[in-house]
């Protein structure tokens, strides 16, 4: 199970980076979203997946999932959600003001 999710995280990273290297702004934003999903999946995998029981300690229960990675993912998801929405708005405004969404044309020159 860990192997499959690791592979999936890898695929998400790869497609994310491929999209990040494109010239079109929207694709770049999608790329960052994919990378952050890859990272979240990765955290989950690192905390060991198959232990079968929820992350609750009650007396007598010996088999439980490590709660820490789940708490980490939750925090990280909230952050990446916020940043992605900000990035979408920023990309929209930047494309509108600069009248292009091509990264090549968004380079600019010195002393302006």
């Amino acid at each position: 199970m860990e192997i499959i999710t690791s592979l999936l995280a890898g695929i998400l990273f790869a497609t994310g980076i491929y999209n990040l290297l494109q010239k079109q702004l929207l694709r770049i934003v999608i790329g960052t979203a994919l990378i952050s999903h890859g990272a979240h999946l990765f955290i989950l995998t690192m905390g060991k997946l198959k232990r079968g029981k929820p992350p609750i300690i009650v007396e007598g229960v010996e088999n439980y999932v490590d709660p820490l990675p789940q708490a980490l993912i939750l925090t990280s998801i909230v952050i990446s959600f916020g940043v992605t929405s900000f990035l979408l708005v920023l990309a929209y405004r930047a494309a509108q003001t600069n009248e292009t969404d091509n990264m090549d044309e968004l380079r600019g020159n010195e002393n302006e």
């Binding site: 990272a39 980490l72 940043v83 990035l87 600069n98 968004l106 302006e112």
Partner: protein, 493 residues
């Protein structure tokens, strides 16, 4: 009284929230922000005094014992940096109303400002790697807000790159933390340090260390990851540039300092040797950038990079003298970069241009700003008796102790070139014939002067009053080289 450790985070956070509700009532907001910034400075000075007297404060949030719960650790290094942060915050909050237009100010400038301070203080105080990531995000979100404030064409363009790069490195950060968690089974820095020590930092742990270094190096603008910095630091308003230049890269350096002295210090031959060469290249490339341009804002922005190189050099050399040099340089650089960014902002506003070739004879109109700029420049370059000199001499001494002559020579050469790049502004901008057609705006200039003079005063004090500061710094360096102190204070074994 361990609750004290949370105050430097709580006060600006609450102030930021309160200010958000009154964003259009500018006079009230300004007054309130100034008072809160001053109160915060007094509070952190008190905490600093307390830490100096009674040793580090460890706050276990929610009463959960150290390795299980979240901890804030206010040791001497952390609290000293928080104090410096708040000194810069005070200068910037007084400068803000002079340099920002009312419209920009009412678009939640003070909210973002306080949230930035919250994030920076939090990153210094936290004793937990994941919380370091969270506070990085808090300060980055605030900085995203500040960098686009105004929404000009250039700002939107450059902030896009800034946001994308930081987002990528944050995601790498999360990935590395989960790597580390799977290997050592904890994210508490003290416990990580303990476990790494038990395993003697074999194989995978060094890899994780280097990955973590790349994350922090991106934030700190170490060669070759500095290309994003200069342009995105000059597009926002001067006061925002000053906050960025003084605080953001330094958080990266602080994280490198913390992790590579307390946690990953067992494979010095691999990691620290690698840092040494990166430090040398960072110094050289940064200063070449500073010499390449005529834009005064860009010159100062490029000068951040060699400073990062100097601090990294101290970490790489890994002796007590060089670590003390890094800490000293860190504090010196925060203050002097804040002052310089405010100064070039003021100069660009007063002269009406940031192109060096179009300026002439400003000293006749604005003598005070001219001399403040001169002092700040030679402080940056490291002329005795100012603060840059003491940081640099400690670093060079550390280099000679370890027989790293090449790096020492590169460091000295870089200092010379920094001096040249800064004095160039002074010679071309301030010297020369008095321009009779130019009408100076004395009232605006006076408003600019006070916050800058405040920062320059601290910068001079760090140099002239080195005898009062140095014992504290030496103590910090000793505690950084002996991680068991930190581990014991957090885990209380």
């Amino acid at each position: 009284m361990s609750n004290l450790a949370v105050l430097p985070i709580l006060l600006p956070l609450l102030a930021g929230i309160i200010v958000a509700f009154f964003n259009t009532k500018l006079t009230t907001v300004r007054l309130f922000s100034r008072i809160v910034a001053l109160i915060n400075l007094v509070v952190v000075l008190y905490i600093g005094w307390d830490v100096y007297q009674n040793g580090s404060i460890v706050l276990e949030l929610g009463g959960w014992k150290a390795p299980y719960g979240i901890v804030f650790v206010a040791d001497m290094l952390a609290i000293l940096l928080v104090i410096t942060t708040n000194i810069i915050a005070v200068a910037c909050v007084f400068f803000a109303s002079k340099s920002l237009s009312d419209k920009k100010e009412s678009f939640y400038f003070y909210t973002f400002f306080f949230l930035l301070i919250t994030g920076v203080s939090g990153a210094f105080l936290t004793g937990d790697l994941f919380n370091l990531f969270v506070f990085f995000e808090v300060l980055l979100m605030a900085s995203y807000g500040l960098i686009v404030l105004g929404g000009e064409k250039v700002q939107l363009r450059e902030s896009l790159k800034y946001v994308l790069l930081n987002l990528f490195s944050s995601m790498l950060f999360v990935t590395v933390i989960s790597f580390l968690y799977s290997v050592v089974g904890t994210v508490n820095m003290a416990q990580v340090a303990e476990r790494v020590q038990e395993a003697e930092q074999k194989g995978i742990l060094t890899t994780i260390g280097i990955l973590l270094f790349f994350v922090f190096a991106t934030k700190a603008a170490v060669f070759p990851l500095y290309y994003w910095l200069p342009k995105s630091y000059i597009v926002p308003n001067p006061v925002v540039s000053a906050l960025f230049g003084a605080l953001l890269t330094k958080v990266g350096i602080y994280s490198i300092l913390r992790t590579f002295t307390i946690i990953f210090h067992h494979e010095v031959d691999i990691t620290h040797q690698f840092f040494l060469w990166l430090a040398a290249l960072t110094m050289l490339f940064g200063v070449i950038g500073a010499l390449s341009t005529h834009n005064i804002k860009l010159i100062v922005a490029y000068n951040i990079i060699p400073a990062v190189g100097f601090m990294l050099m101290g970490i790489a050399l890994f002796t007590e003298t060089s670590i003390a040099g890094t800490v000293y340089y860190l504090i010196h650089d925060m203050i002097v970069k804040g002052a310089l960014f405010l100064l070039v902002g003021a100069i660009a506003t007063l002269a009406g241009t940031s192109d060096l070739r179009k300026m002439n004879g400003l000293i006749h109109q604005y003598p005070v700003i001219g001399w403040l700029f001169f002092i700040a420049s030679i402080t940056l370059a490291g002329i005795p008796p100012f603060s840059g000199f003491i940081g640099k001499i400690l670093l060079m001494q550390g280099g000679l102790e370890k027989d790293q002559y090449v790096v020492v020579i590169i460091g000295l050469l870089t200092s010379l070139l920094i001096l040249f790049s800064m004095i160039r502004i002074f010679i071309q901008g301030f010297w020369g014939e008095k321009d009779e057609t130019f009408t100076p705006d004395k009232k605006v200039a006076r408003g600019f002067t006070w916050p800058i003079a405040f920062l320059v005063f601290f910068s001079i004090y760090l140099g002239v009053g080195a005898e009062t500061v140095y014992p504290i710094i030496e103590e910090i360096a000793q505690s950084l080289l002996d991680p068991s102190q930190y581990i014991e204070s957090v885990l209380k074994e």
